[in-house]
Symmetry: C2
Subunit: 733 residues, 2 copies
């Protein structure tokens, strides 16, 4: 067998390592340097972790000072010395108490800022109330892990996907394909999903309720570490070690830990079964016979790999090229948690960039080489440092990032996410550690976004070498390869194995064919060893697998030699570099990064705002007649028609509600601009975040909105061009 | 039970009646009036059917003239009379032979035009060779009924969906939602799919191969009618009748017909099993327990219905409003045939327009009232007439179309399809006959497009009354209703049923509650009858279902009266008008309507062209340096960058291939414009269908392409503005 079929799916299966224990552990090494930006509404994980670390240090200082006091007393030291030592101890205790208080505040929000949970609750209440999302099949009490996008959510998603197509498919001339979700078993057998795409599950032994074994263990460890401030340093280290190796634990090891810690079913406290694997694919049957098993695809990538040959031809038999696919993927999670971040059906956008393994340079790399953003290389993680800003060109030239093409995509992903509105201070590119990466992968980086749930893997960017194309070549028998035609023939030294059939026939009779095939199938090393043995000893023992035994090969039965051959082309399996985007996760993080509150003018309530850039905003503009009045309504309708013609999504609101309330309502949907009709000749345009207003002629309104939402001009330019309008009369009643 | 759960899913299940026998039969009544338009590359079905009818008439004329000759001979008529009769007979036979020849030509393409099958083959070869579509999982020998969209197909689909969003969602302010494909059983139980969404299947008794029972019977009848020119008029009428009632046949009736006609398995000629129902949904299991059955949704509509309450609230508790959804739907077809038209997974775009059943007017109806296109009302179909042009306003005012809202959507669908490039002469709106429509539907029209497969149902536009919302109200217990608040309270006469609990308790003891509930549940008619009987006889027998028996109710046990009540609002279940688009079918028909061939300049081959409008074209523009030359390539790259900035999908081709070949290659992809760089200051722009070329400055090129592809100007305008370029030197080498 030429290729190793043992694979670590976790690296390929985007999102499968969600909030991995490694990520949790690693964040403890971070500093406070990025702790409080303008936009972050809750204490960072880093801050919490730093405080926790400081607390542990202070605790050991208290402990050793306590020992010192006892030692002084035992040694009958002078009262002055003992008192001084006690004073020092009390000082340390006070410091410890202060850190404890800070930590408590950071965890619960007691310092006036919101706790992460409270912030998340506020965002999610707003999202659900305004139908950004709806738990699916709600009137039937829903299904865990399934969510609908309601009207504004659907518009945001459509905008994100539209920009993805523009930024990747169009600008990079990618070949987009659209394959079915229903997939026959043979395809997912080849990819390894049928055998390996599993999670370990435990069952409540009395009720039969199912849980993910690693989640229960992780929850136990985190709970202990976070809630129990009294555990010993040794115990804490042990729990942290369990979290660090959680993904590597076997079924037996997981089961043993669960027993050791006495973990029971969370809801009932009943005992749990031993862990056993559960395949995460939704299974079905294709056609009426019941004989063709199929699955709902767990990723969109396989549809591209199986089409490699046609796509390569479509591209004029030239490398490199990229194919892309946007579509639904399905994972039958054991017990989905964490809302919109771990769901059973989701939209993936995947790129497979096929490249010659001997040349992974990228012609457009210079366009991204000067970008500088948070990177978290393997070595920084191992040595306990934190993510730091590295210019991308340097990261590639220093070999931190394996090759230019991988680096180019990292840069393009950074641009994509930040243009959507992801806060660059809460975005980092984290390199996979050796134990996270499949053996065949050359390098792998995740774009992780910090949310109230922690650092979330939202885009995986992996150099998967030739693994996938080889797996499908092996299974299908169709060669998924590329050719490089040489401009002139090249001389290549080749090993030639020539079995002498006559001699073999005499020696092995009916088994001759099996022996011939086995000889021809030797690799270079085996053949050279045989050649040496035959030359020195005249014969050798040789295992023929198809016969299940050794046979004796003599010198006269085979000639093995190196020959110089002329070759006109090179045939090879391309490497694939795969950026894989979890669209739903990106959108959820975008919601958190865009959300803020501000007091109403009267100061009696907090108003919610999403600061979506126009590119993402579900509705670009609203049109409000200031008061209910036929003339104003007519003007509003005229403006609405010009907006429709210009292709700008908008909403008219002619209810008699106060203008301040109408602004607040649409701020909560993230609508960036509001046109208010307060005369028949000119209108005001209000910008959401500054609440600044300008005055423009009725005829200009749609054009101004079009230019500023298309990005052809900025609000600052508009602000400096048109007369300003005092907002006192209208806004925030 | 208030609502009838018996439903005819065929009307709702879009596409399920594909190429229904009724459509086949009906086309026989059409005339030749639309037979040969400029664009139709093969004889119409109508033409064939008309010839077939003429042939049958001529055959009976021959028969009766033959009888006349025999009668004359038997009567010993004069030789002159007999000869004259024989001459007439021979004349008739010659005419019959001539019609036969025409028919043969029309069926096989022997008249020089392509046969339908040959045309289809040419289109499909082109589509598959250029990767508009690819049989899914081809390297594993594929799966029937699953297709991928390759790069140009994917771009066409994305353009069609983008225009759908613009034309419907944006222009009509619809609420778009996006729900999962995985659907729990309870939802599809309520909708009726679990029980009724079946096809009748027969099995080859020896091999187990499955077939759709109605397809086998249909094929048999069509084959007989089309290939066997000798069958008697009676036999032909019988076969046509079978085709007409095919959809109404029970399992037993279908089985009996299959036996009567001796139909066997098509591949093996083995006997067939009796027909039995097969549910067409892909089944799966949600979560790890195996206790939650689920299905891949067979349509997107249910996701909207279950969200009605939230969407109504989102719309400010106001009617009418429409919700829309684009997404994948799944049908596990028994044996998919007819390529891209009957597939197991497909994209649906559905609109559910919720409206007060007492007011189905539409404020924008006047905008479509003057449209005039082919309509095929129920009565025309029944009376054997053909589709005819009727102004939409007239169709509504004369009551042919049930209401303005339904009419408005018919008009909008017409505009949508024709703007995509569907030939309006091969598009008709056909009203469902009584036996096609569910009992609850108020009216239903299909947009049918003529393709080489016949008339294809591509959009269904149905007034489904309150059926769906009521079904989910009943099953979920959540009232999916709307309220109309009256500006002042209204007096309403109401029937009031007051059971006298004391008397009932004495009479029925422990059964009292069941009797009370049964009395309260009486409808108006039942209650009035009871009132009359009690007044005349003093007592009556009354069936209490929950007790399973009759009880005797006396006058003292209940009072039934009509009372005047004041009501402040009306609570009602909205009606829903549902336009449902089969996106894949529309795209396939668009391919056929857009395809044509023209001879190469040398005349030695036929070149393929897709005449997609810019809106639909997968790539809007190509950039070709005329010859391989660094200066020209640099200009080409500059133009390419401006096109990217303008958001125009395009392709550079710098191969040394002749310009004529490069034009031909992209004509075959339907690229409307080509920019050829033949100097460093100015370039030519070529239009695909006319092959006309203009000359523009390098700086203008992207702008001209942008304006003409956005529809802000036309090629005719561009042609009259810029200098013309002789094409002799470049095109069609």
């Amino acid at each position: 067998m030429r290729y190793f079929l043992l694979i670590a799916l976790s690296t390929h299966s985007f999102g499968h390592n969600f909030l991995s224990p490694l990520a949790t552990l690693r964040s403890a090494h971070s500093t406070l340097s990025h702790a409080f930006t303008r936009r972050r509404p809750y204490p960072t994980i880093q801050m919490e972790e730093t405080l926790r670390k400081a607390l542990a240090e202070k605790q050991s200082a208290v402990d050793s000072q306590g020992n010192a006091v006892r030692a002084l007393k035992a040694a009958k030291a002078t009262k002055a010395d003992v008192d001084a030592a006690i004073e020092a101890l009390n000082g340390l205790k006070l410091e410890k108490a202060s850190i404890e208080k800070q930590l408590q505040a950071a965890v619960s929000g007691g310092d006036g800022s919101l706790s992460r949970e409270a912030f998340r609750q506020t965002v999610n209440n707003t999202l659900e109330r305004r139908l950004f999302y709806i738990p699916s099949f709600k009137i039937y009490r829903g299904v865990a892990g399934l969510y609908d996008y309601g009207p504004p959510g659907c518009a945001v998603k459509s905008n994100v996907l539209g920009f993805w197509r523009q930024h990747f498919v169009l600008e990079e001339n990618m070949l987009e394909v659209d394959c079915p979700c229903v997939t026959p078993e043979v395809v997912l057998k080849a990819s390894g999903h049928v055998d390996k795409f599993t999670d370990l599950m435990v069952k409540d032994e009395k009720t039969g309720t199912c849980y993910r074994a690693d989640h229960l263990l992780k929850d136990f460890c985190n709970e202990k570490l976070q809630k129990d401030l009294s555990i010993t340093a040794e115990k804490a280290a042990e729990l942290k070690h369990v979290l660090a190796v959680l993904d590597d634990l076997s079924s037996e090891e997981l089961g043993a830990k669960i027993k050791e810690y006495g973990i029971t079913a969370p809801d009932t406290k009943n005992p749990l079964s031993d862990p056993y694997p559960f395949n995460l694919m939704f299974q079905t049957s294709i056609g009426p016979s019941g004989l063709s098993p199929g699955y709902m695809r767990p990723e969109t990538a396989q549809g591209i790999f199986v089409n490699f040959k046609d796509l390569y031809y479509y591209n004029g038999n030239k490398l490199p090229f990229a194919a892309a696919q946007i579509g639904q993927a399905f994972r039958n999670e054991i017990s989905p948690r964490q809302g919109l971040l771990r769901v059973r059906e989701f939209t993936l956008a995947e790129i497979e960039h096929f490249v010659d393994p001997e040349n992974k340079s990228h012609p457009k790399f210079s366009e991204v080489a000067n970008l500088e953003f948070l990177m978290f290389p393997r070595e920084e993680q191992m040595s306990g440092h934190s993510a730091k800003k590295i210019p991308l060109g340097e990261a590639v030239s220093r070999g931190i990032v394996n090759n230019e093409t991988l680096g180019y995509f990292i840069g393009r992903v950074y641009l994509f996410l930040t243009r959507l509105g992801i806060d660059e201070d809460r975005l980092r590119f984290r390199q996979h550690l050796a134990n996270e990466m499949a053996h065949y992968a050359a390098d792998c980086w995740d774009a992780e976004i910090e949310s109230s749930y922690g650092w979330i893997e939202c885009v995986g960017i992996a150099d998967r070498s030739a693994y996938d194309l080889r797996a499908h070549t092996d299974k299908s028998g169709v060669a998924l390869v590329a050719q490089e035609k040489f401009s002139e023939p090249r001389e290549v030294e080749k090993l030639v194995i020539n079995p002498v059939k006559k001699e073999l026939g005499l020696a092995f009779k009916g088994n001759q064919r099996m022996v011939v095939e086995a000889l021809e199938a030797m690799n270079e090393k085996e053949a050279l060893e045989m050649k040496a043995t035959l030359e020195s000893k005249g014969e050798t023992e040789f295992l023929v697998c198809t016969l299940g035994k050794n046979v004796t090969i003599t010198k006269s039965m085979v000639t093995i030699s190196k020959e110089i051959k002329k070759e006109h082309q090179r045939v090879f399996t391309p490497s694939v570099i795969e950026p894989s985007f979890g669209i739903g996760r990106i959108i959820y993080c975008l919601y958190e990064h865009s959300f803020y509150t501000r007091p109403s003018k009267a100061g009696d309530e907090q108003l919610n705002v999403f600061r979506f850039p126009p590119l993402v905003a579900p509705i670009k503009c609203t049109v409000f007649p200031l008061v209910q009045n036929q003339q104003y309504e007519e003007v509003a309708i005229v403006i609405s028609q010009s907006l429709t013609t210009a292709g700008i999504s908008h909403k008219i609101d002619i209810t008699g509600t106060s203008i301040g309330k109408r602004y607040a309502r649409t701020d909560e949907l993230g609508v960036p601009f509001a046109i208010t009709v307060d005369s028949t000749s000119s209108v005001t345009i209000r910008e959401r975040d500054s609440k600044d207003q300008i005055r423009v002629d009725v005829e200009q309104a749609a054009t101004v909105i079009k230019e500023v939402t298309d990005g052809r001009t900025t609000w600052a330019d508009v602000w400096s061009t048109f007369p300003h309008q005092s907002s006192a009369s209208a806004d925030d009643e």
